[in-house]
Symmetry: C3
Subunit: 106 residues, 3 copies
């Protein structure tokens, strides 16, 4: 098996207009890099209602992926996103564990 | 550590022409939102043969990601995709577990 | 619950110019298919320094995702990427486990 090390992948899916601010937060927290993918979102992303039968709207979004060897950096980004947007963040944030192949890059 | 809750991420990678039908299935199953990314697929995606040395074809595809707090919703989508396409679904469907930051959004 | 089987997802994020070589490696290793997403990378991806305050550069990249039922195929790809680029690979490689819905496709 390839020699791997556990790491945390943080995914932030949000409206494209939030991209510059999120990027600043990510870099400031100490992540060594991140990747951005353009996509589109539909449904009730960003709304709290489940009554979305009549309002399926589409909008541009980005997914920002950050992989960090130290979970603490991911947590710092999450905290800063929460503090910056005061709960009004239009997007979703989630984490999962991955195995990275070259530990020295993160 | 950031307060998180376990959730299921369902990923459906399929030809772009299937996107509207998949979206209908996702919304009907009760997912509160989903995201779509354009990509391209190559190799023998969709074919059952492993003899692909001479036929590496490229085609447009989409990846539809759905994150649900209840695994049952992901399962309902999988079942409905299977029922709709009768085993002729050209694409791949897989699930993994993620930690979401704001439980109330899903 | 939907009947699923464990599989390995290999993600290779690298500069777009590396795409054809990576694709050759993936197919040669026996993967039955893969998907490619265009994105952009920023930060110090590919550099070993953490002193990136003044050099946040952006560049085009691709994410190549390969899902294999046999972990050995993912490992073979990782080994071949390492052997091909001799440690000078500009990108990141990581693995995680997913549950695939139709085992016979991989």
């Amino acid at each position: 098996m390839a020699a791997t090390t556990k790491a945390t992948r943080l995914s932030i899916v949000t409206e494209k207009l939030n991209e510059p601010e999120i990027e600043r937060i990510v870099v400031r927290a100490g992540a060594t890099g991140y990747t951005v993918f353009d996509g589109s979102g539909k449904g009730s992303h960003g709304a709290k209602t489940r009554d979305r039968a009549s309002v399926v709207r589409a909008f541009s979004l980005v997914k920002i992926e950050v992989i960090v060897a130290e979970r603490a950096i991911a947590d710092a980004i999450v905290d800063e996103v929460s503090a910056t947007y005061f709960g009004d963040f239009s997007g979703i944030v989630y984490l999962d564990e991955v195995e990275i192949v070259r530990r020295e890059k993160f």
